[in-house]
């Protein structure tokens, strides 16, 4: 027996209101969770990046320190090399000057150069030639000059000349003593 003229509708648990609500909350929850996931991912990536940056910074710092040590060492090498080269050049000038100083009439048999002294041995025709042509310039260079002569055999004289340069301190002390 029928109680209605229309066909009964299928009743569903999901009414349009529930559908609307579910749609709204699904979208909201999706947005919330995706934002949270994004933040978590970013946080993780920043942490990783920070570790990477810190490592790289440490590496660079070590590298810079190493290079600075190398730069300093090269500078030291350069200073030392320049000093040695200058010393060699000065030495060459000193030897050149020494041999230029010796007049043609005097013949040297030995010359010994030390840092603060010079020893010359040789023969001279007479004392005057030695005194005027060699000892005079030597006196202007060295603080103390000592000479000794002995006959050479052929009428000439053998001489030994020792010359010393005093330290500047010693010289100034001597000057003070003389003044007093």
């Amino acid at each position: 027996m029928k109680y209605s003229y229309i066909k009964p509708r299928n009743k569903s648990a999901i009414t349009p209101e529930i559908k609307l609500m579910l749609t709204f909350f699904s979208i909201t929850l999706f947005m919330l969770f995706s934002t949270y996931a994004f933040l978590l991912y970013k946080d993780y990536s920043f942490t990783n990046e920070l570790v990477h940056i810190t490592n790289k910074k440490n590496r660079l710092e070590t590298n810079i320190a190493d290079m600075k040590v190398q730069i300093l060492f090269i500078k030291k090498e350069n200073v030392l090399a320049q000093k040695i080269q200058t010393k060699n050049a000065v030495l060459k000038d000193s030897i050149t000057n020494l041999f230029d100083l010796v007049p043609e009439r005097i013949t040297l048999s030995e010359a010994k150069l030390d840092e603060k002294s010079l020893l010359l041995k040789g023969i001279t025709p007479n004392k005057d030639v030695y005194n005027f042509m060699l000892q005079a310039p030597l006196r202007s260079i060295f603080h103390r000059t000592y000479s000794s002569f002995y006959p050479a055999g052929n009428g000439w004289l053998s001489f030994v000349s020792t010359n010393y340069t005093d330290d500047e301190k010693t010289v100034s002390q001597k000057e003070i003593e003389v003044e007093n």
Partner: protein, 183 residues
């Protein structure tokens, strides 16, 4: 007035209220603190990147300086690193002398950075010019060598016999160099 709500509506309203509370709680308790953390991390990361760029720039600058110095003083660097070879030295400089004899290398000082080795040389020259040329050439040689006092010139018939000491400078870290030479 009586509001007649069906059971379904009550469930719906309750569920909506629950979800709303969940959304609010999640947003305020989780999302906003996490967002703040994210902003802080982003600022930190930017600062660190800036600092890294500074380091990188300084590193590049230092590297450029080092390379320039290495290029400019190449001869000196190589000379300090070189192992002294008496035979090679004699070969290179024998033209300045009629004869040249080099003694064994001996360590003179034990400094922190540079080692100094002493070599005695006995040579014969026909004129002082040979010695001058030798002094010029020594500054361009493969090693860092300083001629040291005393220098003795003695007449030996037509030649001049010269005796002098040479100081060979090299890097102190190169400990094996002498051993190699002394062998």
């Amino acid at each position: 007035m009586k509001i007649n709500l069906s059971r379904q509506y009550i469930y719906l309203i309750s569920f909506s209220a629950f979800l709303l509370i969940f959304v609010l709680l999640f947003a305020f308790l989780v999302l906003i603190p996490e967002g703040k953390e994210y902003r802080k991390s982003r600022v930190d990361a930017k600062t660190q990147i800036k600092e890294l760029h500074k380091y990188q720039y300084f590193n590049d600058e230092t590297e450029a300086t080092l390379k320039e110095l290495q290029k400019k003083h190449r001869h000196i660097i190589v000379a300090f690193d070189a192992i002294f070879n008496p035979n090679k030295f004699q070969k290179q400089h024998k033209n300045y002398f009629s004869s040249l004899e080099i003694s064994k290398l001996e360590r003179k000082t034990n400094e922190k950075e540079f080692a100094v080795y002493e070599v005695s040389a006995v040579s014969k020259i026909s004129s002082p010019k040979g010695f001058y040329d030798f002094l010029d050439a020594i500054n361009k040689s493969d090693w860092i060598i300083g001629i040291d006092f005393p220098i003795d010139f003695v007449r030996d018939s037509e030649l001049i016999k010269s005796t002098f000491t040479m100081n060979v400078y090299c890097n102190a870290k190169d400990e094996n160099s002498t051993k190699k030479v002394e062998k």
